[in-house]
Structures are given as C-alpha cells and as structure tokens.
C-alpha cells in the first residue's frame, strides 16, 4: 500500500507542477505582449500623438488626434443606441422571473453577445451605408450599439438583482407604486452597478476594428460630420501596422497603448465600483 500511496502523492505533486507550468506558459506570451505594448507604446507617446493629425507617409511628427476624437464620438453615439436597450432591457429582465418571454430574451442576449463583430459591421453596412450611400459615424454607431447592449443588459440585470428585496418591500409599504420604487429607490441603490454596466459596455466596443472599417472606413481629418467617413483609433492602428514605415509602427504602438489603457482603466474601475457596491448595500 505504501507504494500506491507514494505514487499518488507524486501524481499530486506532478499534477500541481503541471498546472503551475501551464499558468507560466500562459503568462509568458501574455506577459510579453503586455510588456511590448507598455514599453513600445509608452515610449512612443508624445504630445504630437494626441494633438496632431496623420502626416503624409514618410514624415514624422504625426499623431492620431482625429482618430481619438473619432473613437470618442463613436462611443458616444453607440451609447445612445446600446445603453437604452441595455439598461431598460436589463430592468425588465431583473423584474421578471424565468418564464417564456424573459427566458428567450436572456438567451438571445447571450447569443448576440457572442456574435462576431465583423457580422455586426456587415449588418450596419447594409442598414445604414447602403441606403445613405456613404460611410458614416451613424453606421459605426449602429454596429457598435449592437455589440454593446448585451454586455450592458446582463450587467444591469445582475446589479439590480443584487439590491436586497427588502428595499423594494420597504418602498412599497410606504405606498410607493412599483415603477416609482424602481426608479427612485432601487436604481439609485444600484447606481454603482449601473455605472459599472456602462463602463463594461464601453470597454467592449472601444477596441473594435473590423466593424468600424466596414462602416466608417477611416479618415485623416478631424471628425466633422456624421454623414461621412471618420477616423477611429483601432482602424488607424491597423493601417499603420501594415505600413512599412517605422514611425508609423511607433504610432501604432502608441495607439495600442492608449486603447489598452482605456480598457484596463474601465475594467479596473468597474471592479472597484462593484466591490464598493456590495459593501454598501449589505452594510447595516
């Protein structure tokens, strides 16, 4: 029996070692990527990047100012589509049990969440670019809105469900109608969570490239119209990555650094808020 026991002990040790090895094997490429992004990107950031428009190929000193503004514009517009669907849909789901209609909605939300972003781009192209005859920020907003709302819906539903039911009871017992209880008492209690949901939604679409390439195409000017092509940060990174010029590569890294930072900051902030939310609501 001692042999069997020893063999099992060794298996355990080797197994644990194997798992640790895999973690390290996973960390290495991801760590390398992070390192490159931070090092190359960080060192490439300069004031020009944030203030200058792209210069003709070969010249240095250009920046992605227009693309950064374009991305901000697109996020704002996409939120006009994605947030109402996400938040109101999430409120509905939070209040309903798992019956036919709401079950279907939850399921479909998850399915749409897994839709490839390029498909959203193609659909937005068909919906907006074809009828209007031009690439535009509106089309980009539609594509991003479709990609944004499932994240917001699920996060909103979960955060509302976290508010203890005793709060709703207390409000109802005071003679407040259901809808007012939701809007004036429960949602304020879930504010942190809803802000989190919004941030996660934005983080989801901020880095999308393919759907934007199909809908806003890209531009080297500041965004000045909703009805024509505009620049976007991820698309510009893609263009520069494929060019032969080292300066453009440098700018591409800078762009990647900015994108990466936005994503990290949003996700971190969402985490912190969620942590604070659960502490606040359950205290006392």
């Amino acid at each position: 029996m001692l042999k069997g026991y020893l063999a099992r002990k060794w298996t355990n040790l080797i197994g644990n070692g194997l798992a640790l090895l895999c973690v390290i094997a996973a960390i290495i490429p991801l760590g390398a990527m992070l390192f490159y992004v931070l090092q190359q990107g960080g060192s490439s950031l300069d004031l020009n990047f944030f203030t200058q428009l792209p210069k003709p190929e070969g010249e240095t000193g250009g920046g992605m100012a227009g693309d950064i503004l374009g991305t901000l514009l697109l996020i704002g517009l996409a939120s006009c589509i994605g947030l109402p669907i996400g938040i109101l849909g999430g409120i509905y789901l939070a209040r309903s049990s798992n019956l036919g209609f709401s079950r279907m909605v939850r399921f479909v939300t998850d399915v749409i969440a897994g839709t490839p972003s390029i498909v959203a781009g193609v659909v937005a192209y068909a919906l907006v670019v074809i009828p209007t005859g031009t690439f535009s920020a509106k089309a980009g907003a539609v594509a991003l809105g479709i990609l944004m709302f499932p994240t917001v819906t699920r996060a909103t539903e979960e955060t509302i469900k976290l508010v203890p039911p005793s709060i709703r009871e207390a409000a109802l017992a005071l003679g407040v109608p259901e809808w007012k209880a939701m809007v004036r008492v429960i949602l304020p209690a879930a504010t942190n969570g809803i802000v989190t949901a919004i941030m996660l939604g934005i983080a989801r679409v901020a880095g999308e490239t393919a759907p934007l390439y199909l809908t806003v195409l890209g531009s080297s000017t500041f965004p000045n119209t909703l009805n024509g092509p505009i620049g976007a940060l991820p698309v510009e990174i893609w263009h520069y990555a494929q060019s032969p010029y080292p300066d453009l590569h440098r700018q591409a890294w800078a762009g990647a650094f900015v994108l990466f930072s936005i994503i990290v900051i949003l996700n971190l902030a969402a985490r912190v808020l969620t942590f604070r939310l659960s502490n606040r609501v359950s205290a006392g």
Partner: protein
C-alpha cells in the same frame, strides 16, 4: 387617531395554495393587538393582507374583506398603493434605504408621495416622526449621515419613524425585534406602548413574553395538518395567557409545541 381594523373571513393564497383561512379578527383602535403562533401559522401572511402587501408577491391572492376604519380596502376600484400609504409597516429586519441619509429615509415616504413640498414642513415632519420613534435625541446632530451607520436597534426605530412620517392610522409590525438584541428590543417595546396613543398597532411576534408585555389584545393562530393557518382564539391578553379557552392555545402557551 388610530383606526379600527376588522378582517372578515380573510383568506390568503400563494398561487393555488391556500395559506390562511377565514380569519375574522377585530383590532381595536388605539390598542396594541398581538398575533402569536408557531412558525408557519400564517400570522405574517395575514398581517400583510391588512395593507395589501400580500398581493405584491406574484400569484398571491386574498379573499374576504378587510375594513380599515369605514372602508373595505379590498373594494373594487381602491388602489392598493393608496392603501399602503395610509398604513405603516415595519419589517423583521431593519431595511432603511441604504443610499439615503437618516433625514432622507424618514422623508422618503412623504417625498415620493408628493405629500409635503416645502422644506420647512418636511423638516418639521421629520423631527416629529423621529421624536415619536424615540430616535430624535440620538440622531438630531447627524441627520445627513447615512442611515446604514446606525446600530440595528436604531435602524429599526428609524424604520418606525419612516412609517410614522406618512401619518398612518394603523401601524403593522412584523416581528420587529426578532433581529435585535434584548436591550434594543426593550426600547422598541417601550415605544410601542407610547405609539398606541396615536395609532392602532398590530404586531406579529413569536415571542410570547413580548406579547404579554406590550399587547392589549392577543390573537393566536395555528396551521393544521393541511398547513393552512387559522385563527384559533382571540381576546384580551390577560385572558389568553391566563385562561385560554382553546386547548391548542393552552398547549402553545405552556410550550408543548411551537
């Protein structure tokens, strides 16, 4: 100021399942009535039928009539929301609104109902309610602080003050001290004796000693083998505890079950 409450063959269902059967009970104005009975006897369900909170649960239904003052709150055309605005309720676990200050919690009812508009009136109402809830002296200097910073007993008194701010005719308390320590419980029991001067008080409690201490009248409920709760006996507290008429009441009181 307190209104009389009279239930007339009130029954309550959870979807198809009958939970409480034919409870006819009179809760006299400006008196404290206690509902006692073992767990699952339907006393919480019944008390929620008084202010139409039972039907908030999906599929829940009520039968029979419930008279509060001169009105049957279950009449057609009566808005349950309005009923709840005129009857105050305090729950087992203190549930102040976590994102609001002490002041805002007490003011929540009148504000959300649009009853009181002017700040000066609201200030007065909050102070009166907190005084009546025996909490004013402890919080008067920190009204803007979050309500969650109070102790459990203070939070419960805050919830009482919040209910009082609506100036109801009846106050319902569903096991208000079961989550509190003995000292906090005692403070609330003292408060209840004062409250009956202005309000009709109905309290559910699983603590018989508490009922004996605070209640003028006591009603004993029990669920049979079919798990449906019924009213077994009702009368003045002293009578119920000293000379119960029903064998089951006596068994419960002497601790043979429950």
């Amino acid at each position: 100021m307190g209104e009389a409450v009279k239930s007339d063959e009130v029954s309550a269902w959870y979807s198809k399942k009958l939970a409480v059967r034919d409870v006819s009970l009179e809760m006299k104005p400006n008196k404290v009535t206690a509902l006692i009975g073992p767990s699952g006897c339907g006393k919480s369900t019944f008390i929620r039928c008084i202010n139409r909170m039972h039907e908030v649960i999906p599929g829940a239904r009520v039968g029979g009539d419930m008279w509060v003052g001169e009105r049957n709150v279950y009449d057609r055309g009566i808005d349950p929301v309005k009923v709840r605005a005129q009857i105050g309720m305090v729950f087992q676990r203190p549930n102040p609104f976590p994102t609001m200050s002490i002041y805002d919690n007490v003011a929540a009812g009148p504000r959300l109902n649009g009853r009181v508009k002017k700040k000066v009136d609201l200030d007065a109402l909050v102070e009166t309610s907190l005084r009546r809830g025996a909490l004013w002296d402890e919080v008067k200097d920190r009204l803007k602080e979050p309500a969650t910073g109070l102790s459990g007993g203070q939070q419960q008194r805050l919830c009482i003050a919040r209910a009082l701010a609506m100036e109801p005719g009846v106050i319902l308390l569903d096991e208000p001290t079961s989550a509190l320590d003995p000292i906090a419980s005692y403070k609330i029991e003292e408060l209840l004796s004062d409250l009956k001067d202005e309000y009709t008080v109905v309290i559910v409690t699983h603590n018989m000693q508490q009922a004996a201490r605070v209640a003028d009248f006591t009603a004993f409920m029990l669920a049979g083998d079919d798990y449906v709760g019924e009213l077994i006996e009702y009368g003045e507290t002293s009578q119920i505890f000293n000379t119960p008429k029903d064998k089951r009441t006596e068994d419960y009181i002497t601790g043979r079950f429950g």
